[in-house]
Symmetry: C2
Subunit: 363 residues, 2 copies
């Protein structure tokens, strides 16, 4: 669906939200709307789809319930502003939205909003309730991430050939809904946790030599980055392979790209990429490549995180339990950049091509 068509749909969805409220009023009922619960007990792991999802539990916001009135008004204000944004083809950061809506309520000393802590959760309420991505409401989170490789993207009328961006690459924006993929020639997308490893592979001409696109998440992936990976995978049918540090934080970053996150379980379907596979760093790599000298001791906070991961349903498979258990037993973690101890070129010339060719990937 083109972004323009989706915009029209979203406007209709928001109007439907307003119509619901009007309908209540015309029947002399308390205006109300339903919001799916986002608490942990309503987050399920859908094993078949390999995605985190919200369950069916909902709560109701009633205007005539004094505890709900202010939030109800605020939600309606946000919905109305989003409709305006989408209709005008404008986007706003969630902070701008807050400033746009903050004002004194006529003939009172009350402000519509006191701080952004009030508007942010209501934006999520609205997303879940309308089943519309924040980005489709034209609201922006922070951006982060860089892309390089053989893909031509049309962005606001410009054709960007991402294989011709030197060592710099394309800055992945917070909203990628408007991207049109014009041409792609790539066997897979390699998603990389650290900027330094991304730089290394750019320098070694890895994308050219291995016919792949590379995306750097620079730590936990921002929404724009996750959505971009999802779109490339689902729309262009390009496999995704992820490469992180060998520690519980890296493994969690992987799981978010693959299955979605708990905080955004309502959006996993459009942000997660269940087909993603994992190339490294694994705990087995340490023996296999003789990296014992360049591991680092686990800190208490790492150990705690490993136990948490071992509880998550989406890590309940043999391969991941083995890796996490090995990490715990060895008491060490290993970074992507530790591969530099072999040689700077090792990761690009041996480690990655060999593991990917032999399909030594984790699910």
């Amino acid at each position: 669906m083109s972004p323009e068509t989706r915009d029209k749909e979203v406007v209709k969805i928001i109007e439907g939200f307003g119509d619901g409220i009007l309908g209540n009023v015309s029947k002399s009922e308390s205006p109300k709307f339903k919001v799916p619960l986002r608490s942990l007990n309503n987050i399920k792991f859908d094993r078949a789809a390999n995605l985190l999802r919200l369950g069916d539990k909902t709560s109701s916001r009633n205007f005539l319930n004094i505890a709900h009135s202010k939030k109800f008004m605020q939600s309606a204000m946000i919905a109305s502003k989003c409709k305006e944004l989408v209709s005008k083809g404008k986007t706003a950061s969630i902070r701008e939205l807050y400033y746009q809506l903050k004002h004194a309520i006529a003939s009172t000393k009350e402000n519509t909003f006191e701080d952004q802590g009030e508007s942010d959760p209501l934006i999520v309420d609205l997303e879940t309730s309308l089943k519309v991505l924040r980005e489709e409401l034209h609201l922006k989170a922070d951006d982060k991430g860089t892309l390089i490789g053989n893909i031509i993207i049309e962005d606001s009328g410009d054709l960007i050939d991402c294989s011709k961006l030197g060592r710099s690459g394309l800055s992945v924006p917070s909203i990628v809904e408007h991207y049109k993929f014009k041409k792609i020639k790539a066997d897979y997308v390699l998603v990389i946790e650290t900027a330094a490893m991304f730089d290394r592979l750019v320098e070694e001409k890895y994308p050219q030599d291995n016919n792949c696109i590379m995306v750097s998440t620079k730590g936990q992936a921002a929404r724009g980055c996750r959505r971009l990976v999802h779109r490339i995978n689902t729309e262009l049918k390009i496999p995704v392979i992820m490469f992180t540090d060998g520690d519980p934080w890296g493994y969690y970053i992987y799981s978010v790209i693959k299955a979605g996150s708990m905080a955004l379980a309502h959006e996993s379907e459009r942000l997660g990429t269940p087909e993603t596979k994992f190339v490294g760093m694994t705990m087995s790599d340490i023996e296999e490549y003789g990296l014992q000298k360049v591991t680092e001791k686990l800190k208490d906070v790492d150990k705690k995180r490993i136990s948490e991961l071992l509880q998550y349903p989406w890590f309940q498979n043999k391969e991941w339990k083995t890796q996490l258990q090995l990490m715990s037993d060895k008491g060490v973690r290993i970074e992507q950049q530790a591969l530099a101890s072999k040689s700077l070129e090792f990761v690009a010339e041996e480690y990655l091509p060999e593991k990917i060719k032999k399909n030594k990937l984790l699910p």
Copy 2:
């Protein structure tokens, strides 16, 4: 000077460093080298140049001083590895450098390096001692920042037209020494603290309408970003204007772009851009644009930071003392995005063009 010529120079400088040590040995002296002191009492603010600089104090590293021996060996290892990197046309992150040099010392149980905390400060020693930028030693810090606007940059053989990158922009890498500026058409560079404000101005087509290049630092500017701004200003003679939040943190980010930072005082001359001017947010803007409703109360940590800034020699001028004093008196801060309370377009259509046209800029 072309990057290739500079590379050859840097190799000679590193060889000179080695020759010095060899000279000591051949004269049966203890091998030694001098390192400029980087402690606060050796950092001076050069008022005429408007730059932070290192003073003349140095200390000496002597191989035959037991307290110095290990660091001496480590410094020599780093210098040797940097010579290899520069000669081969390779770059490495400072973490990769650490992993590359970490190994057991033959016939001992000692490692060359135990952790990166040992190699990082020695890299700075080497930079200051050789008067060579880290980037010129082909070592990389983290990258951050995005550029958009009417400039064509040659990066590793690719010609990148930064006015044709849609809403995404160019990801500014950690090393920009290899950038060649092929063509530029811009009245000024607008350097912007927050990614969200950068996005806003991209969406409003501010660079096209105002014939400028925009760079987003995304908080404190990374070295690559600072060096890029410096190069555009000094090589292409394009003025630089900075736009930050109206708080002590934003003002400090401005001062680092302009005068350099204390931690990198030895590199201010190549990272700082003394001609930079400041457009906002100022405390005077609050009255002028009726923004009283969208300020935020100062926290204790903000107040403490204001007092610190008031002590720094590079804030000792009437304009900045007035702003900092006003902030302290009003007890509020104001964000760039608070301008959205007027309208989303206000910043691009009124605030910036008016202030820049009327030269309402701080020094």
